[in-house]
Symmetry: C2
């Protein structure tokens, strides 16, 4: 008898009919002899509706109360699924965050899970129940309702799987698994069977939207095997798990891209201690995340600084940067909104040299100019003109041999 956690996102529970389908899928797993814990998101669109209500009431709604409001979305889906399962003759019991309890810190609207009580869930399972738990929400040590931030239900599921030592954490979604790159861009993109936590983290933070980053960090920390799979079929999906030899043999696991950034350059910055801080502190105070930062070699006591920010924060960032640039006596500010970040990710890079230069050559061969480069142990990212994004992704996907193998040839 295995203990499985099954997490379904908002699209999978988007209406009554879909909730019935989820119930059937859950019942099937239970009938196969598993102990089953279900973790649900709110109905697709519902959280947005609740957020809009809060914003309509107040531009900056009180965060404690905001969480009380948006937490209702999951309360609706878990009760409806439990009603459905009971109607099908199964024992089912819903659990809100505070009933589990899922203890978090008190950072409302972006709380972090600190501890999960396993006793009540285990009791419910041992009594033959299917446990249906509200994702996305928790409770702080003072009994206040908290929420984990968008996509937090993935993290709920993984944390619950860790706390209860589940055999696997199935994340059901509207795609078949994690792909070598975006299949809408590259039809030959192939599903990855196994991917390491670190690769998945890079993929997630670089723009692949399958899993919330924090859920992968959690899974890595506690060694939870995540199975990303489709809620519409029974096909095996992608296992996110500890690195193994097989993975290391693969040079590059995936290609990602991100068109959501903009580039700001500050010229002739005096190369003195404290200058970078003067430039970036205002941005961090304004809660603007700076992604890549490149500082050129200093010439004559002056240097150039280039960095990227989310395009949505671009206007706010520019105002702050212009002010700071003036204060530190820099020469001028230049911007570029038409950029994209293209990245290759793979644990194989650690033990294979030449991966980066293969990437640069492939881009050069297509006449694609590289504007910025940044690397980590398992990824290389290049900023390019965004009109070349699709071309770059296709070329890299091809050069690193990620295309689907023709099944008939095997």
């Amino acid at each position: 008898m295995a203990l499985v956690v099954m997490k379904f996102g908002g699209t999978s529970v988007g209406d009554m009919c879909r909730i019935r389908n989820v119930a059937k899928r859950v019942a099937k797993s239970f009938d196969n002899g598993n102990q089953v814990i279900v973790v649900l998101s709110a109905m697709a669109g519902e959280t947005n509706k609740l957020v809009a209500m809060a914003r309509e009431m107040e531009d900056s709604p009180n965060e404690r109360e905001y969480d009380v409001l948006v937490a209702t979305g999951e309360q609706v889906t878990i009760s409806l699924l439990s009603i459905c399962l009971q109607g099908m003759g199964y024992k089912a019991r819903s659990f809100l965050g505070h009933q589990v309890p899922i203890i978090t810190d008190n950072a409302f609207s972006k709380a972090r899970i600190e501890r999960i009580g396993d006793r009540k869930i285990r009791e419910a399972l041992d009594e033959g129940n299917i446990a249906v738990i509200a994702g996305f929400q928790g409770v702080d040590r003072d009994g206040n309702i908290t929420t984990l931030g968008r996509g937090g239900s993935d993290t709920s599921a993984v944390a619950i799987a860790a706390a209860l030592k589940a055999d696997v954490c199935d994340i059901f979604t509207d795609v078949d698994g994690v792909y070598t790159t975006d299949p809408r861009l590259v039809p030959e993109a192939s599903k990855i069977d196994k991917i390491s936590y670190d690769e998945m983290l890079e993929m997630a933070s670089l723009g692949a939207k399958v899993l919330q980053i924090r859920s992968v960090e959690f899974a890595k920390k506690y060694g939870v095997v995540i199975h990303v799979r489709s809620s519409f079929n029974d096909n095996p999906g992608t296992l996110v798990m500890k690195e193994d030899d097989e993975m290391e043999a693969v040079l590059v696991s995936g290609i990602t891209y991100n068109k959501g950034e903009a580039k700001i350059s500050v010229f002739n910055v005096p190369d003195q201690p404290g200058v970078a801080s003067q430039l970036f502190s205002p941005l961090s105070q304004a809660n603007i995340t700076v992604d890549m930062i490149i500082q050129n070699v200093s010439r004559g006591g002056f240097t150039d600084l280039t960095f990227t920010v989310p395009r949505t924060d671009f206007k706010r960032a520019l105002t702050l940067v212009k002010k700071a640039a003036e204060e530190i006596g820099a020469d001028g500010v230049e911007t570029d909104e038409n950029i994209a970040k293209v990245s290759i990710v793979g644990v194989g890079m650690r033990s294979h040299s030449g991966v980066a230069s293969t990437m640069f050559q492939a881009l050069a061969a297509e006449g694609i100019n590289i504007l910025m480069i940044s690397t980590s142990e398992i990824k290389v990212s290049c900023i390019i003109n965004d009109k070349y994004t699709e071309l770059a992704v296709r070329v890299l996907h091809d050069i690193f041999g990620l295309a689907k193998k023709d099944v008939k040839e095997e």
Copy 2:
């Protein structure tokens, strides 16, 4: 500094704009130096919507999960009101049933309040907060969410007022207070300034829909003064409170009517022990409430039994009664759906004789035939043909001098 409980129903919090109005009203009371506890219902229509969802999923939804679902309605309004108050610069804090806690038994969907913890609310008030509490919901001793049944928010408010020894419990509604009778029937109906708990209980159970009966029982038990008043103006409403001399001086406080019943007569019932039980047990097992029961004097070992049931249960009741009548050897069953119950209510009846006969004479003078009579210490009810309802109510309202006094004459 007074401690006031302010309860607003679904119509008063029916949309964003109305919630803002409630916030202003609450803020005003706070600014006047009061400690303020607000108790809210769900937005008008929202509970019905949630109930419909549960029923769409399953004809007889699991009751525990049904309560989890419908409890979300109040969670939405308390968080929105708190967000609004915070935005206006007031300290406000929402409380769900389990956060107060409002401890109930585990009779899901019709739970009864057993105990209310006052510590957390008192702390919040002492810190300068307006406490905003979800009506209608509680938590049982195992931490399951429960709900109190339709109209339960009135009971929540009164119970909270009792637990915190509030000076007054304001029940804001869409009418100005409790009227001597239905103003739609009798334009001269006047607002009652003060009414005793017992009178209010009779009025409520006889068809006046202003307050949930259980809330009045609770108020009586704990001596909570309820102020029923309009959420749209500042006029004083009706105080529901302990009987005083002033009230006793009034012969009849109000006239009520109820068109929601039907009459069933069973003829020539053998007058033997156990027969009534054989007739009424099937009805109570089917959860059908029998209201009036009249048994005539026995003649020759046989008697006639007449009783009333809610019109909505009439068909079910008739089937059960016909079966039972046959079993006990009764002669036949006759029914009448076109009936109405008209009642006069007043604690003054206790000390004044002749009230009932005044009623009978007044009805007779209009040619209205009385089909059944039932009395208690403080009320007299007559069943009449329902086409005379309006006439009867007007005549009784007039004969007992309940019409509005012309202000100019005073």
